[in-house]
Point group: C2
Chain length 409, copies 2
Amino acid sequence: QSGTGSLENTENASGRRRVMVIGGDGYCGWATALHLSNKNYDVAIVDNLVRRLFDHQLGLDSLTPIASIHNRIRRWKALTGKTIELFIGDICDFEFLAETFKSFKPNAVVHFGEQRSAPYSMIDRSRAVFTQHNNVIGTLNVLFAIKEFGEECHLVKLGTMGEYGTPNIDIEEGYITVTHNGRTDTLPYPKQAGSFYHLSKVHDSHNIAFTCKAWGIRATDLNQGVVYGVRTDETALHEELCNRFDYDAVFGTVLNRFCVQAAVGHPLTVYGKGGQTRGYLDIRDTVQCVELAIANPAHRGEFRVFNQFTEQFSVRDLAALVTKAGEKLGLKVETISVPNPRVEAEEHYYNAKHTKLIELGLKPHFLSDSLLDSLLNFAVQYRDRVDTKQIMPSVSWKRIGVKPLTVKA
Amino acid sequence: QSGTGSLENTENASGRRRVMVIGGDGYCGWATALHLSNKNYDVAIVDNLVRRLFDHQLGLDSLTPIASIHNRIRRWKALTGKTIELFIGDICDFEFLAETFKSFKPNAVVHFGEQRSAPYSMIDRSRAVFTQHNNVIGTLNVLFAIKEFGEECHLVKLGTMGEYGTPNIDIEEGYITVTHNGRTDTLPYPKQAGSFYHLSKVHDSHNIAFTCKAWGIRATDLNQGVVYGVRTDETALHEELCNRFDYDAVFGTVLNRFCVQAAVGHPLTVYGKGGQTRGYLDIRDTVQCVELAIANPAHRGEFRVFNQFTEQFSVRDLAALVTKAGEKLGLKVETISVPNPRVEAEEHYYNAKHTKLIELGLKPHFLSDSLLDSLLNFAVQYRDRVDTKQIMPSVSWKRIGVKPLTVKA
Ligand SMILES: NC(=O)c1ccc[n+]([C@@H]2O[C@H](COP(=O)([O-])OP(=O)(O)OC[C@H]3O[C@@H](n4cnc5c(N)ncnc54)[C@H](O)[C@@H]3O)[C@@H](O)[C@H]2O)c1
Ligand SMILES: NC(=O)c1ccc[n+]([C@@H]2O[C@H](COP(=O)([O-])OP(=O)(O)OC[C@H]3O[C@@H](n4cnc5c(N)ncnc54)[C@H](O)[C@@H]3O)[C@@H](O)[C@H]2O)c1
């Protein structure tokens, strides 16, 4: 018997809507949780903190010192009077997830809670398997929890632009209308993911689409581009609210990495030819996009897909921008081409649509000189914390093996 | 360090090629293992026998009495002098799988070893999760084993026509060439699977395609239609070689089910309007197709997709054919429309290509009157073994819940 104990999809006594942020201790999730709390949503963070464990296991650390999740939430309460509820646990554990749903009764779930590094998923067999299990089963559990305990609840799920790969035609937002042998249909956009991590997101998308159709789940899949930046209005309020900033070759994303490399005088590490073009966005736009998705929920049974980025750059473009900004600050910035550890096209067509979030009201923060200046200054401020051994890529798409890899001390 | 200990992709001392049949105790796998053994391949069966466990747990049984895998293999040896090696274990257990690879050194792996029932995957949350975990992780392990221990080895993987769903355009074999905004690319055919089982196959296909590209795996994905029939030349040799024949609502496929229903005087159970159209094939063609795929391996790095079926029918068509054949045998055959337990289109366009296996030399056994007669006679022969409680569908796509379901005694 399904649907018993369904929550009503109502606001709570205070008239505020309840948003559960899964993965709320992470880079995007923490910024989003604070942003939504600030905007008067009732927020709960669900996280098993496994990302902090990965860092320990691989001997990595955030550029910025980050407070424990407990101290983060206490500090937020002290500064703003706002409470963020905390549920520590693994969403692959359905018993735990069911209890959090029954206790918090969310109107919307924002699901950031996955293993999200492509290189991590390509370290060894056990990490590849972990990534797909953690992400696919976690998301399945969230779908079952919504069906069982809150069927009006809106799922806002983080996907990635990497699901599409680099096709030789324009990338649409989730669907493409195809005319073939004289007949026409609108179909899911074909997926060509380039790592076990990206593949896990493709699997999630297919699973979610099915449950929208079969169960009437309302879902928004945010195919996010590469995020850069660190400060948001809320995380800037106090050092204990500071967000994580990954610069290492496993978890760091390219623009953040280049800024740290420039700050410590390491040559910018362009993989191969550097013609790899992707969509990018400022973390201040991540939080804005999620808020827009929540404020404008998908309909029952709708599987809505937004491409969540604001600008396209090639890796070469980014290296040039960071070089110019660095020189203005008196940094000497060099660029080297590193043998590409990934299997990917290094020169390719890329034109991805991203109008749907703009139509909902997104006001993008474009990558300007001033942002790059402040990001570089930020990296310079923390440069004593940089472990330069973490900069060069160590994970190879082709050399991945079956032996569990241990990082040397 | 990957690739150490790679097997050479050579024939064995006797000059015969070695084929590992994962899931070789199942319906398609057993018939295929015997067929390949008969054709002088060196065959090993890898199976954890979990399918026999499902039957116990759900209180189901094959229409035909089936011997244990040990007795099956002993009987084959006694009749033909041919040895089939046996490895009992779970391919989700990589330690086990690695040992079987190192011991048997296959030139080709035929991978049937998955939870393959759509209704089973829709029983409850834990079976949905089991299905995706078992199938996706099992297949990932097979890919890693091939990369590590036998990179020349050809993977022949069973997919399903159900991966494509029922698009309003022609279904191609794996890929479709799309012209969009003046540019053209050939892309993976979009997938719209209709159950957690079918979705697991979509996930597998994406994972395999990636490893072909990243690691140079050679793979053939056989998107098989619905299989019918029971006897093959080899299984007909002795009753201990008899294949399983599922007629229940969880594991039975439609034509096999209709024959048993006709044999016991149960009305044929058409789900909804009965316009659901799919590709079908005789189990004698399953074994032929697999042999053709092995004899003509994919190239290194090639992800080859064949649609493996020989004819299209709607459920209504099949009911009419079984009714006619039954009446010839003096059976009174009625048809009822059962409320559709699935979420699927009941009237739709369907035109799926299936030329690639024909080009390789497939000589189809079409569904003829004589086959239907013999299938019906077969069902009549065993009708005392039918448990009529297993005929009506009990699993609902919409009512699936989170509580583990136990079947009443
Ligand atoms: N950072 C980017 O540039 C980027 C780009 C595109 C998409 N995304 C997506 O956005 C989401 C968040 O990314 P991020 O950069 O903030 O990652 P992150 O690693 O900083 O945060 C992920 C959080 O999820 C938690 N988590 C993981 N598995 C969990 C589980 N089973 N149960 C409970 N919690 C779990 C981790 O502990 C971590 O706190 C991810 O889904 C990611 O794929 C990120
Ligand atoms: N029967 C059909 O009509 C049909 C149609 C399309 C595709 N297929 C595909 O063909 C394949 C075989 O189907 P079938 O009808 O023979 O199914 P089956 O259930 O009769 O056989 C599957 C076999 O795989 C084994 N198995 C499952 N998980 C395993 C694991 N983790 N480790 C080791 N062994 C495992 C089972 O014990 C069983 O013997 C499946 O992949 C199925 O999806 C079948």
